[in-house]
Each structure stands twice: as C-alpha cells, then as structure tokens.
Amino acid sequence: MSYVTKSPWIIHYDGSSCNGCDIEVLACLTPMYDVERFGVINTGNPKHADIFLVTGSVNAQNISVVKQIYEQMPRPKVVVAVGICAASAGIFKECYNIIGGVDKAIPVDVYVPGCAARPEAIIDGVVKGLSVLEEKRKSLKEELAAETVKAGMDFKAEGEEREGA
C-alpha cells in the first residue's frame, strides 16, 4: 500500500479550451462532488502536484508552458487529459494556431472523453490515474535505489583508484 494514491494533489492547467471543461473541473471541488473526500487538493504549484490535469488543446503559444509545468513536477507524476480538446484538439482542430491534443507536448496517461467532460468522468479519470501513479512510484523507487547503489559503487571505485595511485 502506498500513500501516493491516497493523497493525489492536482495541478490544473487550461490550454486552448472553451472553458467548459474548466468549469467542470472546478465543479468537482464543490460540496456536490467534493473530491477532497479522496484526499485530492487543487494546488497551484507544480512542485507540490502529483497529477497534471490539462483541459483544452495545445497551441503554438502554450506548448512550452505545458512542457514546463510537466517538467517542474517531481516524479511520480501522472497526466490526465480532460475533454475532447485535450485528447485530440476537438472542435478547435482546424484552427491555425492549434498543434493538437496534450499528447503532442507531454506523455498522457489517462484520457477523459466528453465535451464537456462531466465531473463524474473527471473524478473517474483521476481515480484511474491513481493506479498508474502507483506503478510509476514503484519504478521510481527501483530507479532511485539503483542510482544510490551506483553512486556508492562510483564512490568506492574512486576511493580505490585514489588508494592505488
């Protein structure tokens, strides 16, 4: 059992959306749906977040922003694309400035369909994201452990080299 699935903190970014999905995301926080029941917090800080919730598509202006937010989040992290716009650019697909869905900028783990995606669907998507988060936590743990071992070996090898010299 890990704790990362019990306390998913979310950062929400609004790309090129019509604002419909954003309103539904915020609806999840209201007393009606109250996602804080699952420990979800809507943070404004990528460094505190575990789940990146993107609504709307990626365009020429915001692609760097989306990438930067994603890179600032400490691992393990999961991306949830909310709405058709975030999945494939949807209704804005033909616009001159649109690049496409969120997966054109960063790897997406869960797609939540809908225009607008309903709050129930968004919560469902986040919960789906939790299992991905758990998997990522396990692989991160192994990776960090391997890094520590490697750093230790390097240190030892360096020491031996110095002794030899």
């Binding site: 890990s2 704790y3 990362v4 019990k6 306390s7 903190w9 007393p31 109250d34 804080e36 029941r37 699952f38 420990g39 917090i41 809507n42 943070t43 404004g44 800080n45 460094k47 505190h48 575990d50 400490p74 691992r75 393990p76 936590r137 991160l140 743990k141 960090l144």
Partner: protein, 296 residues
C-alpha cells in the same frame, strides 16, 4: 532537570507529530463540514505527509533543505524547553529562531513567490512578536519567574490575573496557526495564492519537514494556552485542556468565516490588540501588585 521534565520532553518529541497531525485532520474535517462538504478522512494529513516522503527529491539549491531542517529542529527544541519547564524567554527566542530559519529558507530559493511569501512572513512575525513578549512579561509580573515549571506549580491559575493577555494571545494565535484572515505568507486553503508563498520551491521531503514542524509548533502553542489555566490540580487541568480545544475550534471557525486581509490590517490590529488587551492588563497588574501589594 527532574524525571517529570524528562518524560514530558520525550512525550512531546514522540507524540506531538501524532497529536498535531490528528489536530490537522480534525481541522480539515470540521472545515469541510462548515462548508457543507464531507471532507477528507481524519488521517488525511498523515497520508499527505507519507506521500511527500515517497516523492522524488527536487531542490533548487544545496542549502534550502538545511535551513528547513534547522527550522524543524529549533521548533522541536522550542517545545522541548517549554515542556521541560524551562524559561519562557528562552522558549520565545528559540521559536523566533525557528521562524527566521523558515524565512531564510524561503528567501534562499530565489523564487519571486517565495520571496513575497518570506517578506509577508517577516511582517507576520513583526505583528505577533510584541504580544508574545507581553505574555512572557505578564507571567513574570504575576509569578516572579519565567520558568514554566514554577508557573504550573503555583496554585493560582494565570488566567485570573492575565485575562486580557490571554485574549491578546488567542488573537495572535490566528497568525501562528496560519489561519485566515491572517494567512498572508502561506495559506492552508488558498493553494493558488502566491503559489503557496513560503513553500513555493519546496517539494517532497522538504515540504514534509515544513508540515511536521508546523504540527510541532501547533502543539507547543496549545501548550501555551494550557499554561494560562494549569495549576497542577486535576480540575484546572481538565479546564485547561478544554480551553485548548475551544481555542483551536475558535480558530477554525474564524478561518472559515473571514476572507484574507491586507498585511497592514494584520500588523495594525495585532499591535492594537497587544497594546490594549496586553498593555492594560500589564498596567492593572502593576498597580495591583506594586501599588496595593496584592501579589500572588
């Protein structure tokens, strides 16, 4: 140092995180209920803390973790001195040291949001510090000692003499508990405000340390409330514990019923309260004790 002092220090160091976390859990639950929501599980603050420990370490520079660690250690020392029955002055100065380490940590991270958070934190320290000092002076005038052990051992509970100072102290608790309307530097609820102010650049274990030191601090502050009522008898101990719970509930209530105010109001109002509630109380004590010889 006698055995009770040692036991209470060990109990504080070991149990304060558990008690502080539970308190935070109740806080979030009660706040949610006040807003018509179900709210997170009671143990949510612990889940959050352990989650933070599982995250990948990301730091912007080499010193920030050290500063935050110092903040945590000094916070533990503050409570340690207090629960060992040590001098209130020492307690207050270590508390300030801990707060200053937090400010330095935020400044060191170089983020503009953290910098604004840090300057607001300094303003908050400026706002509450006079009242804290007046509290210590009040205790000294009544009991002729700064030592917590002497104050608790005395049969007369402090609140009889220091009612005004007690009110002033509860007022600044809003700042210290980081509650609205005075949660200027880092708000529990408004996560977008200043991108979490002081903690903008901190994540994972560092953030967990900040949370932990906040829990230690909260328990220590409730210990201060306890001090106003305790006199060693069971009856007053029960009253003191009830007073602590009531004070915390009051802070949650204020938190949920006020919007955040400007820093000018935070500084002005806490100084006005310190001068009126605290100052008048001191004056009355002074005349009663030195004018009419009514000491304890």
């Amino acid at each position: 140092m006698n055995t009770t002092a040692i036991i209470s220090v060990i109990a504080y160091v070991a149990l304060a995180p558990a008690a502080g976390g539970l308190l935070a859990g109740f806080d979030r639950k009660i706040s949610a209920r006040m807003q018509g929501r179900v709210g997170p599980p009671l143990l949510q603050p612990f889940y959050d803390l352990f989650k933070l420990l599982e995250k990948e370490p990301v730091t912007v520079n080499r010193v920030q973790d050290f500063y935050v660690l110092c903040c945590l250690i000094f916070m533990i020392i503050t409570g340690g001195f207090f629960f060992a029955g040590g001098s209130l002055l020492l307690v207050i100065f270590t508390l300030t040291t801990a707060s200053v380490f937090m400010v330095v940590a935020a400044y060191s991270s170089n983020s503009p949001y953290a910098q604004i958070g840090a300057s607001r934190e300094l303003l908050q320290i400026m706002a509450y510090e006079p009242m804290v000092l007046i509290t210590a002076i009040g205790f000294f005038i009544v009991y002729r000692s700064f030592n917590v052990a002497d104050i608790i051992a005395h049969p007369a509970p402090a609140v009889h003499y220091l009612a005004g100072i007690f009110l002033g102290f509860v007022f600044i608790l809003t700042i210290k508990f980081r509650k609205s309307p005075f949660d200027l530097s880092m708000s529990h609820h408004a996560h977008q405000e200043l991108v979490k102010g002081l903690t903008t650049e901190f994540s994972g274990k560092t953030l967990a340390m900040i949370e932990l030191s906040h829990w230690y601090e909260n328990i220590f502050l409730l210990g201060f409330v306890f001090l106003f009522f305790a006199n060693g008898t069971t009856q007053w101990t029960v009253i003191a514990v009830l007073a602590c719970l009531l004070a915390y509930f009051l802070e949650i209530f204020i938190d949920n019923s006020y919007a955040r105010m400007k820093w000018q109001i935070a500084v002005n109002s806490s100084w006005i309260v310190a001068l009126t509630a605290g100052g008048v109380n001191l004056l009355v004590l002074y005349f009663a004790i030195f004018g009419f010889g009514l000491g304890v």
